[in-house]
Amino acid sequence: MTRPSLEKGNNMQQARKPDPVDVVIVGMGASGGTAAKVLCEAGLKVVGLDRGPWLRPKEHFSGDEIKFLNRTYLWSDPRVNPRTVRMDEGETAVPTPFSMTPQMVGGGTVHWAGWLPRPRPSDFMMRTLHGDIDGASLADWPVSYDDLEPYLSKVEWAFGCAGLDGADKYEPYRSTPYPCPPLPPTRAGKRFYEACEKLGINAMPIPQALVTQPYRGRTPSNWTSFWNGYGDPTGMRSSTLTTFVPEALATGNLDLRAECYVREVTVGPDGRATGVVYIDALGREVEQEANLVVLGLGAVESARLMLLSTSRYFPDGLANSSGQVGRNATFHEYLFAVGLFDDEQPLYGFPGNYISGGSFQFYETDYDRGHIGGALIGASHVGQPVNWNFPGRPQWGSASKDADRDFYNHAMKVGHTLHDMPVESNRVDLDPEVKDAWGLPAARITHKAHPNDVRLAKWQVDKNVEILEAAGAWKTIPVYLERGRASGNTCHQHGTVRMGTDPATTVLNKWCQAHDVGNLYVLDGSSFPTATGVNPTLTIMANAWRCADYIVNTHAKGREARSTSGRPVQTLTRTSGGQRVDIDG
């Protein structure tokens, strides 16, 4: 492993070209960290690049609300990494901090609350179940829940997950129990369970990426409640920064280079990827050659990098012969309702590790509701004093002070992330005007919610309100998806580089290998044909593990069958052991 040697930074000459490696991974977050672990443990030589810093939890994280929630210490800075957003092609996109997933080693698993629910079998077959929906581009996944199930278990056990066996009445098949029991409920969580029982709703602790007992060298030791949006200094939370990345480093096979900004995936005269070009922490341009390129930047930035990587072979962007790169983007807008209570006994607004109980009872489609899809309902705490969730709070004056004083410890929140429909015109492309701090075009997001999204959100938020009322709320405050305009308030990104069987309509095959470029894999959420109704990280990590296994066991060993298009797919040229051996596909 190397950290950039910053003391030598006075002369800005070209850096010496590093030796070629087996695999270069771009983006060391949920998917990149998982891939690094699997590939390095299998003996492949890997260079891991991340645009952001490599922070040290005990040294850099603490319960500082201003720093983490208001001054965006982890959240990607919109002045460095701007995004622009518009609702349709007739508008000029304006700079908007939309889905600003942290760009750093560990990625979105550093600041997250750790929602780790499993997807459901129906998530993988939306088109089979519902056919074609007007204005949407529903598609089945080329893999099923059963294909992914062993990897869901692997991630839960290797990463650390708390859950309660047998509590979810709607749970699909599990090959393993949960490795850790759940956290104790908070008072607000208990109120949620009681309300659900009253309404006949099956509630359960939402599976969460943390440890609640000594586990793999970690201890449950963060009881500060500075949780959602904060880095965890203790290692109680499961993050690739503190689990899979160190495990990959421990093999000796990972060379992790932080603050290295990849601006292009390079393509050789044969149309294969040859590696990447990046700008290192000292501002030097470096070319890293590799036999295989893995992208894991998140669905917005992976699509952007592919569109930036134009070449003679791929004038419209890398592996984009289908014209589908960037399209069918989905973003899981977070919608919710807050309940204010007037009980004498406080519920307390702050304690807990954000997530309390939840329910899958309204997850599957019920056509009587007037829409398809459903949601995982989740109860959560309202947060710390500055930013606690109280939409429509009186902004100033004694009413504002009273609102905080009367209700901060008498509030709870129930919400869901929206299972939004894929729409071909909802996309990521390159902004023609706005550039990032490196002078490259910003990602431009064109997004307008599908009518099904608006109806689904309305029904679910009204169900959130009903639960809060059953819990005894004095007042409920719903937050709807109005006028089809999403704010981009989650880090969930999917669908811009879809996987599927048809190279004309999808970018990746079922192993998340590009149809056009046999040595390019995209392992983040961008491969998702549909968004699923659950927080995506577990599915992203399990899928990355599955595909990395394929790289190790099939691709790297030259066992790969011919690609679906009938062209032979080039396989990995191993550089390990000092000799290059071409293995034909």
């Binding site: 910053l6 930074g9 810093p53 850099h60 994280f61 603490s62 319960g63 500082d64 201003i66 720093k67 208001n70 001054r71 210490y73 002045r79 460095v80 901090p97 509590a167 009445k169 409920p185 908070t186 008072r187 369970y193 029982e197 099956n202 509630a203 359960m204 602790p205 009881w223 500060t224 500075f226 949006g229 200094p233 932080a258 603050e259 922490a281 000292l282 607004g349 702050f350 304690p351 807990g352 004093p385 939409p391 009186p394 902004q395 100033w396 004056g397 504002s400 009273d402 609102a403 905080d404 004083r405 209700f407 901060y408 701090a437 007042k475 937050v479 709807y480 305009r485 704010s487 308030n489």
Partner: protein, 233 residues
């Protein structure tokens, strides 16, 4: 360039607590008075007692006090593109505040014939109503308009106007960690009943815990009927 992981910690200079770093005396007094109307003093302390104006003044003074060190021992000395971005952001915010004080005075002079800071509280409220373009908010009522549009969960300062910044920064200076110059003597936390940490360090080393606020005695079978195997549960 120093990597973000290695930004040095700079100890706070002597006298920081009493220093006026950005505002002129008139600007200081005006912002102090305005924040005192955003979160007023009543039978409990308000923005003025929390030293919210000091919080804002320190924030606007440059990039030296944007991020406290994780353990609160000092402040991070930023470098690179993030420091450039913050310098530009702080410069923009400073200009908005400077103009905002002029606007408060212009409205005050036009309507009441004196600077904002010289007005009585009710008159100051009228000026803030003019500035915000909306009536002063009334108390929380049980039933109000139906529904709110979805918004960002985290607050960014970019794109906010002066009044929005004033409201946002007053909250931050009242309820944020005292390391940033506001929430003096933790008065903000006391007002709303938040048992905040003694120090940032206490949130790292395990000495700060709110575990007693979790439910202590419980049985999942009581909370989840399905675990009891009940029909229809």
């Amino acid at each position: 360039m120093t990597s973000m992981a290695d930004w040095p910690v700079v100890l706070p200079p002597a006298g920081l607590a009493d220093a006026r770093l950005f505002f002129t005396d008139h600007e200081w007094d005006t912002i102090d008075a305005a924040t005192a109307r955003i979160l007023p003093t009543d039978h409990e302390p308000g923005a003025r007692e929390a030293h919210v104006v000091r919080f804002i003044d320190r924030y606007l003074s440059g990039v030296e006090y944007v991020y406290a060190a994780a353990d609160g021992s000092g402040f991070l000395q930023m470098d690179g593109k993030l420091a450039d971005a913050w310098r530009a952001r702080i410069a923009d915010l400073g200009a908005i505040y400077r103009q905002g004080v002029r606007d408060l005075d212009a409205i005050a002079l036009g309507q009441f014939g004196a600077d904002f800071v010289a007005l009585g509280e009710d008159e100051q409220d009228v000026v803030l109503e003019r500035l915000s373009g909306a009536p002063k908010p009334g108390p929380v009522t049980r039933v109000d308009s139906d529904g709110n549009p979805t918004i960002q969960v985290y607050a960014f300062d970019d794109g906010l106007d002066f009044f929005e910044l004033l409201v946002s920064h007053t909250r931050q200076g009242f309820y944020g960690d005292p390391i940033y110059g506001g929430n003096h003597d933790r008065v903000g936390w006391e007002v709303i009943g938040f048992p905040g940490p003694e120090s940032l360090k206490a949130t790292i080393d395990g000495t700060y815990s709110v575990r007693e606020y979790y439910v202590q005695e419980f049985d999942w079978r009581d909370l989840i009927p399905h675990l009891r195997g009940e029909a229809g549960s």
